[in-house]
């Protein structure tokens, strides 16, 4: 049997204890061990940003981390943003209102990145928004309505995200 390590991770406020192989990626751990499939995997080499999550409130590419590295950490995924599909987080609501998504695959990473941006810069300029999103690839939208959604979310939340 492969070597397994015990990890304790708090994901979206729930504490999970699991024995995992050291080589298991955090993205695979979230998706296939915990069933949190809202975090998507687009490239597995840290460029596309679809798998972006918050680890101890910092942006992280879950495809570039091993699950064992998250031992003792607090992880936030897209499932942790809103209590339910009928009660969306303001950033999710803004993406809906501004048509900020098409296929939805890059969206989780965009949402998490936006939350981190607005916590740091409550009212970013368009240039700051585009720079903040430049590590997240989208192949559907041309980014225009994503930028619009972030702008809308900033106006509505005043940094309280």
């Amino acid at each position: 049997m492969p070597d397994r390590r015990l990890v304790t991770v708090t994901v979206n406020g729930h504490v999970y204890k699991r024995a995992v192989e050291p080589r298991l990626l955090l993205s695979d751990f979230l998706r296939h061990e915990l069933g949190l499939t809202g975090t998507h995997v687009g490239c597995e080499h840290g460029v596309c940003g679809a798998c972006t999550v918050l680890v101890d409130d910092q942006l992280a590419r879950s495809c570039l981390m091993f699950a064992v590295q998250s031992d003792g950490c607090h992880v936030t995924t897209v499932e942790g943003l809103a209590p339910s599909v009928d009660d969306l987080h303001p950033v999710q609501q803004a993406f809906w209102d501004a048509h900020g998504l098409q296929c939805g695959f890059c969206t989780s990473g965009m949402l998490i990145t936006t939350v981190a941006l607005l916590r740091e810069h409550p009212s970013p300029s368009d240039g700051e928004i585009r720079a903040a999103l430049s590590g997240n690839l989208c192949r559907c939208t041309g980014y225009q309505n994503i930028v619009k959604a972030v702008r809308l979310a900033a106006q509505r939340t005043d940094g309280r995200v």
């Binding site: 192989e21 080589r23 298991l24 695979d28 998706r31 296939h32 069933g35 949190l36 499939t37 809202g38 975090t39 998507h40 995997v41 687009g42 490239c43 597995e44 080499h45 460029v47 596309c48 679809a50 995924t77 897209v78 499932e79 943003l81 809103a82 339910s84 599909v85 009928d86 969306l88 999710q92 993406f95 809906w96 209102d97 048509h99 998504l101 098409q102 296929c103 939805g104 695959f105 890059c106 969206t107 989780s108 949402l111 928004i129 585009r130 999103l133 430049s134 590590g135 997240n136 690839l137 989208c138 192949r139 559907c140 939208t141 041309g142 980014y143 225009q144 309505n145 994503i146 930028v147």
Partner: protein, 791 residues
């Protein structure tokens, strides 16, 4: 019919909450995981394969090579045969004896998890005999043979003619010649491909989830290959993370290998493609070299075009000649070309297969045509837009026949459009006069600004047909199913709007199901900008039939004539008699003789109106329920069109191109949801910008793809794509009830042509000429140097 308006998308809350269901999100109980061993060579013979170590690896359930597949390992069907496709070749699920491109599947491992499967794939020992690879399609003829039985690597040749080009060239005031090259790129959806299959050996039923654009075709093909009744096979394209043409292939190796393995093992099997695999095994497109001549009269009116081009099909021809045929037929674009000769040669290379990618041959044709327009303008000292206007098909000249058969075999006949109005509007938006003043001022300050335009048409909405099923449930909610899939185009909303407009209800009360073969069993799929035209109209027809049923039943129950009724706000009401009405839910309940006690107050009210009937509850031929199934088969394509304009700034020191403005005028007939249409255009333009400036697949001399990662294959980010200003014209199509035309590919088509004109304009002080795409910063610097050295 009621008008349409922008509306938020029905599908979004689920996707935003992380509750989408993409193929890799589906983990059936006990699922095993597959990994594919792929060719590391562009071209090589397989001397032997030893899978012993892989088979003995802990956690491995099976390792399959071509020998294990036996008779199942047949070449894929040639989807679009053509008499001139004399040497079409398609790939087998697993390579036999020889590999023809890097990434070609050689063996499959099935194991407890993906990690173990990949470990075991690494233990397979293949004795390779590398062969010289054919990489540059421009020198493929006469090079090493990709297929031993295909002389000169030529898959097909096609020569076609309209009018009398030779005579026109002889009589022409001017003849200009250009050599133009378009590189190879790829769709790169952010979700790569994936397949999950579950086989029930007791019932002999197979259920497959596949990130495909055409699940019905996959289903029927799988049934045939696996010896199962079509009735026992179900294929679902769930949420699909972008397609762009890449995800429609009949068949990718994994689409047949995974279901086959699930049947062999009696276990669920999953395969999820990683990004490197996607770069080397999924299909790609672009890649043409044109040698073109154009004849014009003294007034810049086009008399004839003579175009010869070579088209790179990669290692196989899964889509026959579809892409080059689209190039030929779309090359004239919005212009009148009375005499036209086109000859193309389709050649094999040791590179991944070529099949349609957003634009599908159109960007190439548009690039060629618009480069010719610029050449005419330069030589005859006119503005390019003056040349465009003199040659546009006029609004009173529709239908306009290009004179050649289109990709569907029907005539290439433009149904409607107003190209002059579109160009006028694009000019108003970007204001060339003001720009020229800005440009002059910028040049004095050492900055290089350029203005470019490009015009295009797009044949959309081809057949054969699509269908739809619409049903109202006792809850009053409406359900609609169609075979076309969605990869982000908003079908769950625009289709709901079409149904809601017929039924007089809120689009949010219409649930649309797409791409599930058990929910709708007839149709083709989402490709060629056809879903709205074909499935949208079928949905409209089905909803209208349901509307008629609802009105007829309402008239019977409310004891009035149908003409006395109106439909709106989810109910059928007697005109001018407030309160005399029935909800759609009540009517749905009353329409089914098996009513039981559904209990809703409104339904009970309806049931009180139902009179007992003598004899059987359904008369012969009568159907229960408020539902209908209808089909729409367009007689031929409907032609969308548009004009783009942009202002760019080029930095001669770095070769960087920046967009200062980007304007789109687009005409896709009746707009169902302008917000969704604009989103499609934004995304299309972004992809076009990638193709024009950044994206190029670099194969080395051995056929190795050296930039097979998102670090090295540069797609535009939020920093590179500008704000896009969109204006709509609406010239309805006369070819379908909704008057709609497709929009999916439109944004991409003219971008390379537009960038060429704008960059040439910006660099006009250097005399730079653009005859290739893409234009990377180093290439722009080279072009400036070359222009300088020519003086």
């Amino acid at each position: 019919m009621a008008g349409f308006s922008p509306t938020r998308r029905n599908e979004d809350p689920r996707l935003l909450a992380g509750l989408g269901s993409y193929v890799d999100d589906i983990d059936p109980p006990g699922v095993l995981h597959a990994a594919i061993l792929r060719s590391p060579h562009g071209h090589a013979r397989i001397r032997s394969i030893d899978v012993t170590n892989a088979r003995h690896h802990d956690g491995v359930h099976a390792v399959y090579t071509a020998a294990d597949l036996g008779r199942f390992n047949q070449p894929a069907p040639l989807v679009v045969p053509h008499p001139n496709l004399t040497h079409g070749r398609t790939q087998r699920p697993l390579a036999v004896d020889k590999v023809r491109f890097i990434g070609e599947a050689v063996a499959m491992v099935v194991a407890d998890d993906r990690y173990i499967a990949e470990d075991a794939a690494g233990l397979i020992e293949v004795d390779w005999e590398p062969l010289p690879a054919v990489v540059d399609f421009r020198s493929a003829i006469g090079a090493e043979l990709v297929h031993d039985d295909v002389p000169h690597n030529v898959a097909a040749r096609l020569a076609q003619m309209v009018g009398d080009p030779d005579r026109a060239f002889q009589a022409a005031a001017h003849v200009f010649e250009e050599a133009l090259f378009i590189e190879r790129s790829c769709g790169s959806p952010i979700e790569a491909r994936g397949v999950v299959a579950v086989f029930d050996p007791r019932l002999r039923t197979l259920k497959v989830w596949d990130a495909t654009q055409a699940p019905l075709t996959i289903k029927n093909g799988l049934a045939n290959m696996l010896g199962l009744p079509e009735f026992n096979v179900e294929v679902i394209a769930p949420d699909v993370g972008g397609g762009f043409g890449t995800k429609i292939m009949l068949f990718f190796a994994e689409e047949v290998l995974v279901p086959w393995a699930a049947m062999q093992l009696g276990r669920a099997v999953k395969w999820t493609e990683d990004r490197r695999e996607h770069f080397i095994s999924a299909n790609q497109e672009r890649g043409q070299q044109h040698s073109v001549r154009i004849a014009v009269d003294a007034d810049a009116r086009i008399l004839a075009i003579d175009d010869k081009f070579v088209h790179d099909t990669g290692a196989y021809t899964p889509y026959g000649m579809v892409v080059p045929i689209i190039t030929v037929t779309q090359l004239p674009g919005p212009y009148k070309v009375p005499n036209y000769r086109s000859e193309f040669t389709v050649v094999y290379t040791n590179t991944p297969c070529v099949s349609p990618y957003r634009g599908a041959g159109r960007p190439h044709g548009c690039f060629v045509m618009e480069r010719l327009i610029d050449r005419i303008a330069r030589e005859l000292r006119l503005t390019p837009n003056e040349v465009r206007r003199r040659n546009f098909v006029r609004p009173d000249e529709f239908p306009w026949d290009v004179g050649l058969p289109f990709q569907d075999g029907a005539p290439t006949r433009y149904d409607s459009g107003n190209y002059h109005a579109g160009l006028d509007l694009a000019e108003q938006m970007i204001d060339p006069t003001a720009f020229r003043a800005d440009q002059a001022a910028a040049r004095r300050a050492g900055r290089y600004l350029g203005l470019g335009f490009a015009a295009y048409v797009e044949g959309t909405g081809i057949g054969p047909y699509e269908g739809a099923h619409v049903r109202i449930e006792p809850s009053g909610k409406v359900f609609a199913a169609t075979a076309v899939t969605s990869q982000g185009q908003g079908h769950y909303t625009s289709f709901a709007q079409i149904v809601a407009a017929e039924l007089g209800c809120d689009p949010a009360d219409v649930t649309v199901v797409t791409g599930d073969t058990s929910r709708f069993n007839w149709g083709a799929g989402t490709y060629a900008s056809r879903a709205l035209v074909t499935a949208g109209n079928a949905l409209g027809l089905a909803a209208r039939a349901v509307r008629e049923k609802a009105l007829a039943l309402g008239a019977e129950l409310l004891e009035v004539g149908i003409d006395d009724l109106e439909l709106g706000n989810g109910r059928v009401a007697v005109k001018g008699a407030p309160g005399r009405e029935l909800t759609l839910g009540a009517l749905a309940t009353a329409s089914n003789p098996i009513r039981y006690a559904y209990g809703k107050e409104a339904n009970q009210a309806a049931l009180r109106l139902v009179k007992p009937r003598e004899g059987a509850v359904l008369a012969a031929g009568e159907e229960p329920g408020l539902e209908a199934q209808r089909f729409f088969a367009p007689e031929r394509a409907t032609w969308a069109s548009g004009q783009h304009a942009a202002i760019v700034e080029v930095d001669p020191a770095t070769g960087n191109v920046e967009f200062l403005r980007y304007v789109v005028v687009h005409d896709c007939g009746t707009l169902i949801n302008p917000t969704i249409v604009e989103g499609q255009i934004h995304g299309g333009v972004a992809q076009g910008i990638g193709g024009a400036l950044y994206e190029r697949l670099h194969f080395d001399d051995s056929g190795q793809l050296v930039n097979a990662s998102f670090m090295d294959f540069l797609m535009p980010t939020a920093m590179e794509v500008p704000e896009i200003e969109v204006a709509h014209l609406e010239t309805p199509s006369p070819l379908n009830p909704l008057g709609v035309k497709g929009v999916g590919e439109a944004g991409t088509i003219p971008v390379a042509a537009l960038v060429a004109e704008a960059v040439e304009d910006a660099l006009s002080p250097f005399g730079v000429r653009i005859n290739e795409m893409p234009l990377s910063p180093p290439r722009i610097r080279e072009l400036i140097e070359e222009a300088r050295s020519y003086g």
